[in-house]
Symmetry: C2
Subunit: 345 residues, 2 copies
């Protein structure tokens, strides 16, 4: 496959700027809501047919240039021994959060098939459908820190006190936990590539909110590097690292070995490229809130992103964070169409 | 008064590094919890005697080099017409959030005495107590964006969709709202200085979480500049700007006219000074979570902050965010003592 998305991941010239949106398979689409009205999050994730259907909905409706498999970063923790539920109106909860070193020692490191067979099968179904159409499918996982934070906090957190206390106070236990996560995620990403994913995104959703530059460099970055290096030893699919809120220390992040860096909506892309170096590909970074604005304002904000990218090779248009459930679908369509039109050679 | 805190605010040499902690009057102290067990947040804020007592507790217990008046950034919104309550376990709620332009037009801009007399009187009581002891008292307010965000969202927000939609979609209404907030906060800060505050801190708690660099520069920074300039025309007390999460665009923030910049715990102070210029004073930036760690690790993290400050004039030691309720008080005392000892000439 040689789609414009994959070319952009490799920093090659493309005939126009590829576009996809984080959480593009999601609640802003009526077709998605119809399925979720009948099924829980984990039921959809565990069903290859339903995940595949949901993954394809935005591709068929809006014509995005890449699909991302419908799943979540947390279910792989179940195979390690964590008791996960997505609670309506509250989000994911882990009922046995890691609060004792002994719990860390007891965590299993099973192969991905054990808890993620549904997602691997869904990848097979979607890639069988999309490969003939030359549309790539992105697999993904959570970054070790973000997964550790969830496993230790047990739910969303305001200040990450438990996980940071562990990190600061028990560096040896921290290292064991992070190494186990690297092991499990390496296997999971490789299995996704084998199953048909032609790019892999690592979501570090919490590192930037939780950690300063020095802490990120000391306690997080080595494990991101280890994960990326381990995957790269066994596959050549491009790896995208999206560290929400980490642009403050891009000089550390840029060394982790990824091919593409997701940039959140806080930093203008021109400055992101200055920090990253022109030879890196960048994915981003329209503010998802802009999709709620009237077209005139929305277009203005799309133009800012495209002006900053300035036609560089290696720009993948995306949002700077996941699309919001209240996004009007006509704004999504108009945005995708406008980006295609404006960037076509 | 010529305390080491005020000297540091002006960038002058001091015999040692002054230290105070954001939220130093707060739930980590048993004396504070005893009062709050009997009284609501607003009752304490509205009582000059209780606010004064709570303000003085950490000064008398730990020997901080500055007091900050016990209050909150939101009560001034009440005088403008917003219906505020601090709901136990949930935080502040505004029952009539701004969702229509007409509501913005109806907001009042009364003088500070109307809703904040309790705080102004408390400042009088505390400064009468502390001036003879040569300990300065800091007054404060919320920055216009952070207050607007609360007024529009009505409570804590994950993505600030309402306030950013207003900002993007209705720039004229946004300008009217922000100007009203500048008017009210200018008056409130000046009245606090008149009542006895010898420094003034502006808390921009949400700007960095909500806004990218371009949006901050366009929709927020002009109003911070207007507020700071208006206050500076009428008083020479130093102004501290603390924009949580705004260090990513320090090159914009540093031009707003403040004398001191609060730096959150994400950016090493040496890099903060690089962005700000050596002639600015900096307040920060120990991670509050470090205060939960064993002394060996806590000391290591204090040393990092002091090493980065490297004895520069204009360093005020503080946390990078408010102290956490679960902080052991012995760690607070040991931290204050250690900073005094290590930085004394």
């Amino acid at each position: 496959m040689n789609s414009i998305f994959l070319k952009a991941c490799r920093g090659e010239a493309t005939e126009r700027t590829p576009v996809w949106f984080m959480r593009q398979a999601g609640r802003y689409m009526a077709e998605y809501r119809a399925i979720r009205a009948q099924k829980t999050m984990l039921q959809v994730i565990n069903s290859p047919e339903l995940s595949a259907e949901v993954t394809l909905q935005p591709i068929n409706t809006f014509g995005f240039d890449a699909a991302i498999i419908f799943s979540d970063i947390l279910p792989p923790l179940q195979g390690m021994g964590l008791d996960l539920e997505f609670v309506k109106g509250k989000g994911p909860v882990i009922y046995n959060p890691l609060r004792e070193n002994k719990q860390i020692d007891l965590l299993a490191t099973p192969p991905a098939e054990e808890s993620m067979q549904g997602t691997l099968d869904a990848i097979g179904l979607v890639s069988a459908e999309l490969t003939p159409r030359n549309i790539p499918l992105i697999g993904f996982c959570g970054a070790p820190f973000t997964l550790a934070a969830y496993a230790v906090e047990g739910s969303g957190s305001k200040n990450y006190a438990h996980v940071k206390s562990l990190m600061y106070s028990e560096p040896a236990a921290w290292d064991r936990l992070m190494n186990k996560l690297v092991t499990v995620m390496t296997d999971y990403l490789l299995k996704q590539a084998q199953a048909g994913a032609s790019a892999l995104q690592i979501f570090d959703s919490w590192a930037g909110a939780a950690l300063g530059k020095l802490e990120y460099a000391e306690y997080v970055d080595p494990y991101n590097r280890a994960l990326i290096a381990a995957v790269k030893r066994r596959t050549d699919v491009p790896i995208i690292y999206f560290g929400l809120g980490t642009t403050l220390y891009m000089d550390v992040v840029r060394e982790n070995g990824a091919d593409v860096y997701g940039v959140d909506w806080k930093l203008p892309l021109s400055e992101a490229w200055e920090s990253l170096g022109d030879n890196k590909a960048i994915q981003g970074n329209l503010d998802p809130i802009a999709l709620l604005a009237p077209w005139r304002e929305l277009k203005h904000r799309i133009d800012i992103v495209l002006d900053q990218a300035d036609g560089r090779n290696g720009h993948i248009f995306n949002l700077g964070h996941g699309i919001l459930p209240q996004t009007p679908i006509e704004n999504v369509q108009r945005t995708v169409d406008y980006i295609r039109e404006r960037t076509s050679n």
